[in-house]
Symmetry: C2
Subunit: 124 residues, 2 copies
C-alpha cells in the first residue's frame, strides 16, 4: 500500500474534500488550519504524485489534481494497521480506552449501537 506521511495525508485530505482541484484551490483550503508556505504544499503535492496517491492533468500552465486512492480505503487500511500494532487487531480495547477516559459522548454511543445493529442485521 501507498505510505503517506502526516503532512502528505493532510494535503490529500484537502483534495478529497472536492476534486479535481488545482494547487491553488488546495492551498486555499489548507490555509484555514495550517500555516504552511505555498511552496511547502507544492512540494507535498509533488511527493504525492510521485507516490501515486494522486494524478493530474495539465490545463494551460496549471495542474488539475485528482486523488488516485479512495479515502475510505486508505483510512481502513491505516486503521487496520493501527489496531493491529497497538491492540493486536482487536477494536474493542481501543473503544474501551476512549470510554474509560471519558472520550465518548452520548452521540458516539448511539453511533456505535447503530453500527452494531447493522452488523447484526447482516449476520442473521
Amino acid at each position: 500500500m501507498i505510505e503517506l506521511s502526516k503532512a502528505e495525508f493532510e494535503v490529500l485530505d484537502a483534495l478529497w474534500i472536492d476534486y479535481p482541484a488545482t494547487a491553488s484551490q488546495i492551498i486555499d483550503r489548507l490555509s484555514d488550519d495550517k500555516q504552511w508556505h505555498e511552496k511547502t504544499i507544492k512540494t507535498l503535492l509533488g511527493r504525492l504524485v510521485k507516490k501515486g496517491a494522486l494524478t493530474f492533468e495539465k490545463d494551460g500552465r496549471q495542474y488539475i489534481y485528482t486523488p488516485s486512492i479512495d479515502r475510505a480505503d486508505y483510512t481502513l487500511k491505516e486503521s487496520q494497521s493501527f489496531v493491529e500494532r497497538f491492540f493486536s487487531g482487536r477494536i474493542a480495547p481501543l473503544v474501551s480506552g476512549f470510554a474509560k477516559s471519558q472520550q465518548l459522548s452520548e452521540q458516539d454511543i448511539n453511533d456505535l449501537k447503530k453500527v452494531i445493529d447493522e452488523w447484526e442485521k447482516d449476520h442473521k
Copy 2:
C-alpha cells in the same frame, strides 16, 4: 508527549510484556517475530532512553530497563490522535469501517456491547 517511531514502539512493547528486563531478554522476545540485528535493538533501546520512554539501572556490565511510560496511557494518546486525524475525532466511523469490510467477529461485537453497557452504567 513522547513521540515514538514504529520500531521504537515495538521494542518498548517487548519490554512492557515483563519488566524490568535486560537488553538480551528484550532481544530474545523480539527474535520471535522480528529479524532485527541485535545491534539494531540496542540502538533503539538507546533512543528510547534518550526520549525518556524508559530508564535503566546498571547491574554489573548490564543494564536493567524499565518503561517510564504506561502502555495504556501511551496507546490512548496515540488512539486519540489517530482518530482525530482520520475521523475528525469520532470513533464510530472507524468501527463502521471495520464492520463494512468484514473485520468484526461475533467476539468483537460482544466486547463492544460490553463497553457500551459499562458506559451506560457509569452515565446513569
